[in-house]
């Protein structure tokens, strides 16, 4: 994180402090002097957007927690009291619930960008794996937050997801009652979900710090996928990246505000405005949109245990991506075949998301199976083989040549 800084505080007092704790230098080297490739496009601004969203979620969440009651008899009512009686409570809650959706939207773009430009390859394997861990933590946090509302969908999502663990042979049922803190989803479940929903975001902050640290050790990847070779290839983070990130955060906020102020319940499920009722099963149990592709994978496999393994495998496989992709060329720009398989993969993920919202019957099951097969084949067959057989395009000599080549 250090090493790029020439930071010298102006005032005597700050110099005194800097000698004892060089935090100014740390910030300066990380967010001011830090060299970023000059050819980064707008897809690289989503790291900044994600940091911003994490901050929004934590701030709104802390205030919401001041008004929320984690008890099966009061949870739904306390959420409604926030919506009605707390000053700007409706704003806080809609910011938080839509904020989760925006957070996932941004993280998916961030991940697909990493996949397209090969950002997980040497020397960024640890950076990528830290990202996968953040994503897993986000999924756990988002799921538990959704349960806190204690509407019908909250309750039944909690029941379905915790029941997945009952597929584990021998100890499955013991694990499930241990997760529940009882013999069904109930007050102890709600209480522990609340506790963990408050804890995990700070764990995410911790892993994000490691993620940024790892990023600043290896430096950012860029659209050419070749490493910076001279000062001509980079620009300092401030003002260049900060100005660009700032612009995109503002644009992203317009989209976010559209949802919060105009269609705040568009992404939610109507049934979650019905208080949780263990005696009534909803006609359809559907997770939030950002889990739908994985839900489709789970349901595409007829055997429960294998379905659960596929579900966790579909996320776990991401951690092995740096070694499954055998090509030494990073960017899809120079990998014509990879590029096509990549876009098919994006379509498969969106298709799985759509299928996750459909009942598991007839043509939907067949389509889910096809797309699930492609999802895994992309990682286990396509990527290892492409590295061997693909004819790649010639790389430019340097980043600056790729940017200025035409002009020079």
């Amino acid at each position: 994180m250090s090493g790029n800084s020439t930071y010298q505080p102006q005032s005597k007092a700050l110099q005194w402090f800097e000698k004892r704790l060089p935090i100014g230098g740390l910030i300066h080297s990380s967010f001011v002097a830090y060299p970023t490739p000059r050819n980064l496009n707008y897809w690289w601004t989503f790291g900044g957007i994600l940091s911003f969203m994490l901050g929004v979620q934590i701030v709104t969440g802390i205030v919401l927690a001041m008004h929320y009651t984690p008890h099966v008899d009061f949870a739904f009512k306390s959420v409604e009291a926030i919506m009605r009686d707390v000053n700007y409570g409706w704003l806080l809650r809609y910011l938080h619930s839509n904020g989760a959706a925006m957070f996932f939207l941004a993280v998916y773009i961030h991940m697909f960008r990493g996949l397209y430009y090969g950002s997980y390859k040497e020397p960024r394997e640890v950076l990528w794996i830290l990202g996968v861990i953040i994503y897993l933590l986000m999924m756990a946090t988002g799921f538990m937050g959704y349960v806190l509302v204690w509407g019908q969908m909250s309750f039944w999502a909690a029941t379905v997801i915790t029941n997945l663990f009952s597929a584990i042979p021998v100890v499955g049922d013991i694990i499930v009652s241990w997760l529940w803190g009882g013999y069904a989803v109930g007050n102890p479940t709600l209480n522990r979900f609340y506790s963990l929903h408050y804890l995990l975001p700070f764990v995410i902050v911790g892993v994000v710090i490691l993620h940024v640290w790892a990023l600043h050790v290896s430096g950012q990847n860029n659209p050419t996928g070749i490493e910076p070779k001279s000062d001509k290839d980079t620009v300092p983070f401030t003002p260049y990246a900060t100005a660009k990130d700032g612009f995109m955060v503002a644009c992203f906020c317009i989209l976010y505000a559209w949802f919060v102020f105009y269609i705040p319940n568009f992404l939610g499920h109507a049934d979650n405005y019905i208080p949780a009722n263990p005696a009534v099963t909803p006609a359809e149990i559907v997770p939030e949109w950002y889990y739908l592709p994985f839900y489709a994978i789970l349901r595409s496999i007829p055997n429960k245990l294998m379905g659960v393994i596929a579900l966790f495998g579909s996320i776990g496989i991401l951690a092995f991506l740096p070694w499954l992709d055998t090509s030494r060329i990073k960017s899809a720009r120079y990998r014509p075949l990879f590029k096509q398989f990549f876009w098919l993969f994006v379509i498969a993920c969106i298709g799985l998301g759509w299928l996750g919202s459909k009942p598991p019957e007839g043509i939907y099951v067949i389509m889910s199976r096809l797309l699930t097969f492609y999802y895994f084949a992309f990682f286990l067959i396509v990527l290892p083989l492409l590295g061997i057989f693909e004819k790649t395009k010639p790389l430019p000599n340097s980043i600056s040549e790729s940017v200025l080549g035409a002009k020079a």
Binding site: E80, M83, R84, A270, K339, W343, W354, K358
Partner: protein, 278 residues
């Protein structure tokens, strides 16, 4: 490059055709509710105060005998952006309700309601509500307008994101209230105690037709028809579920203007900063 674009476009088109067939075939049974022109729809929508007051009258005189409205305080009738009752009117309405309470010796009493009290429920508890209504408790109405919806199907649900159509709840409720039929169509097997409704999923609804023409008399001369009643109570339920909607949309417009100006300024800042490098 162009080649890839074509392949992607073809794949997408193929996927869409493959996906949309079954999606449309799936829409079935209950017909989609007709769209009502609501005053509160759209980015500048506001509640029609007279309509909310009429809706409240229908709630009080018809719905309240079976449905609770637990999560609203009676005083919220005077909140800005709502039905527009004055504080004094809300206090007068509150005082008409009998609220169960304890006196300072701990004995159970009934006292006149105050604006801070919530609307009292028609049944003592859920079991009583079930027992009196054929085994199913009538749902609480506080969030009902957000808890009811109908499937728009692809691609309409995607377009709704841009057109801001989100009145699925009131459209459905209004259609349901207008959708009772005297007799089920020929060949339809109606179970005991069921009522045929065109818009209820499965068509068999336990609730008997709640509205009759002339049942509620309005002071403002609005017609005493089922159509009028259905729209007014639906609008009232939207307010009950979303009492701060008017403020939300007003602030939303201010936020949008601020963000668009900010994004514009950020864009020119970015352009200026990068002009030396490009």
């Amino acid at each position: 490059m162009n080649n890839h674009r074509t392949i992607i476009a073809l794949a997408l088109a193929g996927a869409l055709i493959a996906l949309s067939g079954p999606a449309f075939a799936q829409e079935h049974e209950a017909s989609p509710p007709p769209r009502v022109k609501w005053s509160f729809a759209g980015p500048f929508g506001k509640y029609d105060q007279a309509q909310l007051q009429r809706g409240f009258k229908i709630y009080k005189e018809v719905c309240a005998s079976c449905h609770s409205l637990d999560m609203l305080s009676i005083g919220s009738l005077a909140d800005p952006g709502g039905p527009g009752f004055s504080q004094a009117q809300a206090a007068a309405i509150a005082s008409e309700y009998k609220i169960k309470d304890l006196d300072d010796r701990g004995s159970q009493i009934e006292r006149a309601g105050r604006p801070a009290d919530h609307f009292p429920a028609p049944f003592a508890n859920e079991l009583a509500a079930k027992a009196m209504n054929g085994g199913v408790a009538p749902p609480d109405m506080s969030t009902l307008a957000k808890a009811r919806t109908y499937s728009r199907g692809f691609p309409w649900f995607m377009l709704d994101m841009f057109t801001q159509y989100q009145e699925h709840g009131p459209d459905y409720i209004a259609a349901l209230l207008k959708g009772y039929k005297e007799a089920a169509p020929k060949g339809f097997k109606m179970p005991e105690g069921g009522h045929y409704n065109e818009y209820f999923p499965g068509h068999v609804i336990a609730m008997p037709p709640p509205l009759q023409p002339g049942q509620v008399t309005f002071d403002d001369g609005a017609p005493a028809t089922i159509d009028q009643y259905a729209n007014d109570i639906s609008a009232f339920l939207v307010w009950a579920a979303e009492p701060h909607m008017v403020a939300r949309k007003r602030i939303g417009f201010q936020v949008m203007i601020f963000l668009i100006v900010l994004a514009g300024l950020m864009y020119f800042t970015k352009k200026k900063v990068w002009s030396a490098v490009h």
